[in-house]
Structure formats: structure tokens, C-alpha cells
């Protein structure tokens, strides 16, 4: 807890005032970037008997779910990165790189209990316009575990037009680093509350992936993917998001083009900035990051590093994605104030720094109230493992899927 001599109410009043301030301009100083508390909890298992009360307590510490979701349509972006046929070794996908279904179900259950009118689980699954339910069956999940967690829970595949009649144009209020606006699946506009439920991981391109980077996947590959249409979006998504990663082409002409096609084409430059643009266009109201079980070495099994399944036993949440991710970085043993060249941003720019400079939120732990467990109590030192791992050559790469 880094907040002293003030009540929690005082704190929230200050933070909400600051939250409105970022809309005023694109380059607020670090001191002016809004802050918001982050609840941190120890959670050793995905057993609902342990998970539900832990998550309930976290949400209460943040002011209660009811205030946020009662009578509202809630959209939850989960993380199902890569094909469901890839695993880290023999480990289930949810124990390494997918948001765990029990966390999704628990969040939906608690939101339903808090009065959410409609809960929509969103993801843009790899290279398919098929239903998310079918995708997760291939990961060995049971969709009914999530659909039955609360009334009116549904999935939508947002990697294409989906159930909408047209794509939703969502503008980046601060103007954007790479993109001034995005054309997204309607679900990201047709909601009152937007939630990001991410897995706590390192990331080969962006250094780390937490609640902000999870939103990279809200871009439909029909417009921003390898097989995107040239003039109009393609009907079905094909391949990954090389358009955004490499900048080797522009999105479909029907969507807003990049602001400046002469900027560097390196993914380590483009991905952090696009993530910030996306978080500006589609702000996260509630960020949840689970690291109960996860992996070290990267964001998925395809990464050519020594990949390990690990069990940090931690979950955290906040009302601001930047402050939540800053706390997450610290839990992982990294300094959220780290800049390009410093772990985990050895090769890339810091998404957090860019987000702070865009006025989305502060990454300065001195300005972030941490509620519940302290960071040091739950720290799982990804940074130390990274240093040790990088002292050795990467393992031979086999066939993984």
C-alpha cells in the first residue's frame, strides 16, 4: 500500500478526476497521467472454492462490481493466443498461455451476481470465423462451464464482422501513435463496460503481455491480418496480424490508414504503439490479470526460448489498464519505469511508457495504490528467470503444432 494519510474515498475522487484529464491532450506529463488503485491477491488454484472469494474480494476492494456492471452490457476480452493445437509440452493451454476458463467463468458469475444485464465473452481466434465455442472445444474446454456461469452469457468471434452489420469505427482520442482510429467488430462498441482478462506472461515482441497487450487481439484479421482484403475487409480471417506487426501493407482501404507510413517497420516499434492506440480507442474499464498458473519464456509455445509452465499463484485487477500492468510488471520482477534497452524491453519500446505519455495512466508505482497483498508478497521473479535463461542458448526447436 503506497497511499498514506488519506481515505480510500479521497483517493478515488482524485483518481477519477485525473482519469478525465487525459482526454484533454495527447502528451500529459508523468505526474498528470491518471492513477487508479490495483487489488492484488494470492490465489494458488483455479478451484472455484478458492477463486470466487478471492476475485469477489478484489472487486470489492476496487469499489464493488455492482457500480460498474449493474444493468449493463459487459464485454470481456479474453486471451486465446495462437492455435488451440499448440501446447507448452503436455500442459493444458489454460495453465500456460490462455486465460483460464475458471477465471473467465468466475468473472462472469460475479458480474451476473452484481447485476450485469448481458455478458459477452470476446476473442479473435486464430485464423477462423468459426464460433469461439468450437475453438475452445479444441483446446479441451467445455463452453458450458462459461456460458452457464451467469444468465445471458454469450461468446462472439471478433476476428471478423461477426454478428454485426458493419464494423465499428473507434477513434483514438489522443490522435494515436500509429493509427488514428480502428474498424473493429461491433462488440467493442456495443457494450457499456469493457473488461480485459489477461494472462501474466512475457512477450517476444512487446516484452510483457498483460491487460493492455491483450487488447492487441481486438483487431479483426479481415482488416488487419495477413489475408485482409485490399479495398474492403475479407469475409473470413486468415493468418496473423502481420499488417500491424511488420507494417508490410496497410489495412483494408475501408479502414483508417496509418498516420505515417514512413515510420519504422519494426514490430518492436509498432506493436507497443498500436497497443496503446487500441487502449485509447477502446478503454478498459476493468483490467484483470491472472498469473495463477502461466509460463515463462514468452507468450506461447511457438516461441524459441526455454519455455516453462510455472505457478506464481497470483491474480490482480484494477480500473486502469496502465496502473494494473505497472503493478503486474513489478510482480513479475521488472521495473515498470524501464525503458527501451532494459528488461523486459531489451528490443522493444515500453508499452507502459507510451501509454503514460499518451495520458492513459501512470506507471509510477509511487502513485499507484496497491490494495490487498503487497507486491513483494506475491512477487514471482520472471526477471531473474529471464536473465538465467538468456545466459544459455535457446533449446532445439521441435514440431509443436
Amino acid at each position: 500500500m503506497q497511499c498514506h494519510n488519506q481515505t480510500r474515498r479521497d483517493w478515488l475522487l482524485k483518481t477519477s478526476a485525473a482519469a478525465g484529464a487525459w482526454l484533454a491532450g495527447p502528451s500529459l506529463s508523468r505526474a498528470a497521467a491518471p492513477t487508479s488503485p490495483v487489488a492484488v491477491a494470492r490465489c494458488r488454484t483455479y478451484d472455484q472454492a478458492e477463486l470466487l472469494p478471492v476475485m469477489q474480494k478484489m472487486f470489492d476492494q476496487l469499489g464493488g462490481l455492482g457500480k460498474l456492471v449493474k444493468g449493463k452490457t459487459v464485454a470481456i476480452k479474453i486471451n486465446l493466443t495462437g492455435s488451440p493445437t499448440y501446447r507448452v509440452g503436455h500442459l493444458p493451454l489454460e495453465d500456460t498461455h490462455y486465460t483460464h476458463p475458471q477465471v473467465i467463468a468466475a468473472a462472469a458469475h460475479l458480474m451476473g451476481k452484481a447485476g450485469a444485464r448481458r455478458i459477452r465473452i470476446l476473442e479473435s481466434p486464430w485464423s477462423t470465423a468459426g464460433p469461439v465455442e468450437e475453438y475452445i472445444l479444441r483446446a479441451n474446454w467445455e463452453p458450458r462451464d462459461i456460458l452457464g456461469a451467469a444468465p445471458n452469457v454469450e461468446f462472439e468471434n471478433t476476428n471478423y464482422l461477426g454478428q454485426g452489420k458493419k464494423y465499428a469505427r473507434m477513434t483514438v482520442p489522443f490522435g494515436g501513435y500509429i493509427f488514428p482510429a480502428f474498424d473493429l467488430n461491433h462488440s467493442y462498441q456495443d457494450c457499456d463496460v469493457f473488461v480485459s482478462i489477461a494472462k501474466m506472461k512475457e512477450h517476444a515482441t512487446a516484452g510483457i503481455t498483460l491487460s493492455m497487450k491483450n487488447c492487441f487481439g481486438i483487431t479483426p484479421c479481415t482488416i488487419y491480418g495477413t489475408g485482409a482484403g485490399i479495398d474492403e475487409p475479407s469475409e473470413t480471417p486468415k493468418g496473423g496480424r502481420t499488417t500491424v506487426h511488420a507494417g508490410d501493407r496497410q489495412p483494408s482501404k475501408s479502414a483508417p490508414a496509418e498516420k505515417d507510413p514512413t515510420t519504422p517497420r519494426q514490430d518492436t516499434y509498432r506493436v507497443p504503439r498500436t497497443v496503446v492506440d487500441l487502449n485509447g480507442a477502446r478503454p478498459v474499464h476493468l483490467a484483470i490479470v491472472e498469473g495463477i498458473k502461466t509460463m515463462t519464456g514468452g507468450e506461447g509455445p511457438w516461441i524459441n526460448e526455454e519455455l516453462l509452465g510455472v505457478a506464481p499463484g497470483v491474480i490482480f485487477a484494477g480500473l486502469n489498464a496502465v496502473t494494473t500492468d505497472a503493478v503486474g510488471m513489478s510482480i513479475m520482477g521488472f521495473d515498470p519505469m524501464a525503458d527501451h534497452g532494459t528488461p523486459p524491453f531489451e528490443r522493444c519500446d515500453s508499452t507502459l511508457k507510451l501509454a503514460e505519455e499518451a495520458g492513459l495512466g501512470t506507471r509510477d508505482l509511487k502513485r499507484i495504490e496497491v490494495i490487498g497483498e503487497s507486491i513483494t508478497q506475491v512477487r514471482f521473479d520472471f526477471a531473474a528467470l529471464r536473465k538465467k535463461r538468456r545466459a544459455s542458448p535457446p533449446p532445439p526447436f521441435g514440431i509443436r503444432g
Binding site: T85, Y86, R87, G89, H90, S127, T128, A129, G130, P131, E133, E134, L137, R138, N140, K238, G239, P301, G398, I399, R400, G401
Partner: protein
Amino acid sequence: MAAQWTPMRWPSAWKDPAAVNLLKGTAIDCLVLGAGDDLAEVRSRARDAGLHVVDAATPPAGISVIKGVWPGVKGGRAARTEAGPTGVPWVDSNGWTIQLARRQHPEVQVWVDAAPAADAVVTADSYLIAIADSAAYGGRWIVSLDAPLAAAMAAHKPEADKPWNRIKQAAAFFAAHQAWSEYAPFAVVGVVSDFTGANEFFSQEMLNLLARAGQHYRILPKKEPFSTEGLRALLYADAEPLTPALQKQILEFVEAGGMLITDQWPALSQGAVPAPVDTFSVYAMGKGKIAVSKDPPSDPYVWANDSVVLISHRYDLVRFWNGGATGSYYTLSPDRKQAVVHALFYSYRGPDQASVRVAGHYRTARAATVESPQLAGVQVKVEKDAVEIHLPRISQYVALELDV
């Protein structure tokens, strides 16, 4: 009929009849030769060695030779893989042709004639794939050596040892497990067609592409009575309308809870339910459903992949993780006490850490490869409705033996 013999084509590079001795002690028990007099001594030596001798042009009664493809991930010498529409490597397999031939002619043994492709990278493991890809489905690949290997063997060069040993090993494995060929395949969907004439391309390509989509199917020739036992869906895309008798049988199947996937069904205007794919409209009927294609069938790739979603991955019989380009054939012994899943990995090397989930109720599971009849390091996780098998690093074929 399950294949009884293990045939090999006599390489044209083998001029010395004494090369017949190379087959001594192997499971190869049949030589496929041309009819010319120049091979008379080879023929004679082979017969003396106890081998069956078959004329390549006129195989004996009871054997059907089908023209096949060189199986594996499609690629050239630079190992460039060709990708299908979704970027999944394209796999050539003879599994569907063997199943179709066995279904249409149950009284004959099926041999596959497919020499190594001219542009293929042929390794020792390519021969394992070629042999396993036919034998897993109850057929036999006519062992056909690529020219460099045949020449190296004739010259007794050491570089021939590895591929030849691989061939011997694989041939011996399947000869020792001939009984598996009599096991009955499990299936999720029945493909109803006459598989000929105007329907030949689409129906046969459906078999090919359903397998590529990981679906297990049963071939149901429409002019014969067939059983739908155990099936969740039927697929009918022939040009001709269903006969009244066939329509009646399919209707009973649907009303009992099955699904029909088709482009034609009379008078369906009510009972529409949400469809999981855009290309079909789905209607409830009895306890089941009818999925009607919005357009006439034109692309079997779309039909095959959409049918898997229409039926649902919930009913997948076999799921792979970390398998690369996979294929599988899931069968049950006549006494229903043992199941065997033939798992094929068509990439240039086998997987490091593959997992396989097999639907069904099983007590135990074992894994056998051509190198190791009782593979060590296998972990078995028995679940409520399935068993999950974690494999160590293996080559391109593994047989999973499951005890009911």
C-alpha cells in the same frame, strides 16, 4: 479384406537376381515384377526363396492395386511446404482411397501403387510414412524404392542401410499386427453417395478433406443398405435427389437426434435455428437437425470444414496437440475389448511432445511404434469420457492401444 502380403516392386536398377537375398528375413513376402523374360531368373529365385511373385500389370484375383499418392506434407526438394487455404500444410494421404476401395470391394486386398514423387525429399522416415499411411488403413503400400536408394543397395553402399532398415522395421511391424486391419473404424459422420459419375469428384474429395479436417467418417454407398449406428451426422451432396427409401431412412436418423448436412431437402421453411457457419441454414427436426447449404455444393473444402463445425468439435474422436500435420484412424476390435488409434505425423520429422486425446471409456492405454513395441515414457491420463496420452519424442507413426 485386410492385406495379407507385404509387396515390393523389383527396382529396375537391380540387375543381379541375387539381390532377392536382400529380402531374406524381412516381412516383405511378395515381389511385384514386370512380365519380361529378362526377369525370369529373378522370378525363379524369388519363388525358391518362398516369395509370392506378382505381375505388376495383372495382379492376381483378390488383390486390387490402386494408384495412390506419395504421402506426406506436400513440398519440393527445398522442403517448401504448400499450404491450404487456412495456412495448414497440405497433406497427401492414401487413407481415404484405401477406405473407399475396401468399402466398395470388401473381398479384395488393397495395395497402393505410389512411387516416391520425383520432387520429393526422400528420407528413411519418408518410407515409414509411406508404409504406415497405407497399413494403418488396412492396405499395403507396394514398397517402391527411389532410384538413388535402389542403386545404393545394389552397390552395397552403407548409406542405404538406414532407409532400408526403416523399411524392414515398418513392414515387420504391420505384418505382425495384421489383425488390426480387421478392426472396425469409429466414425462421427457418414458420407452417403454413389461415389461415381458426376458425384465422383465431390464425394471423394469430401473423404479426403474430412480426413484433413481431423474428422472420422464412414463411407455409405447409397445403393446398399447401411447402418447409421454410432453416427452423429450424415452428409449427402450428390446431384440426384434422395430416393424415397433413402429419404425415409435419413429422416428417421434425424428425428432420432442425428444431423443431416445436405444441399437439398424438400419444404423446409419452419424450425430455423441459429447456424454456427454462414454457409448453411439449420432447421430443427424431431430431436435432430437438418443443415441445408445456401448454395449448391461447389467447394468440398468449405463443406468438409463447415461440416465439422456444424456437427461440433465436441464430438471429436481424436484431438492432437503439438502434432503438426496429423492423420488418424480409430478402430475397435471385433470382440470390442480393444481399440487402436493409428496416429500419423506427416511432417518431415515426428513430434517432440505430442498429446493425443481419444474419446471413449478406457481403463489403460499403451503406445507402440515401429521401433518400440512398448514405448517408454508415455503418460496416460484417464478422463471421464476420454483418455489423454502424452507421448515422448517419436517418429511419424504411433499405434495407441486402448483397453475398453
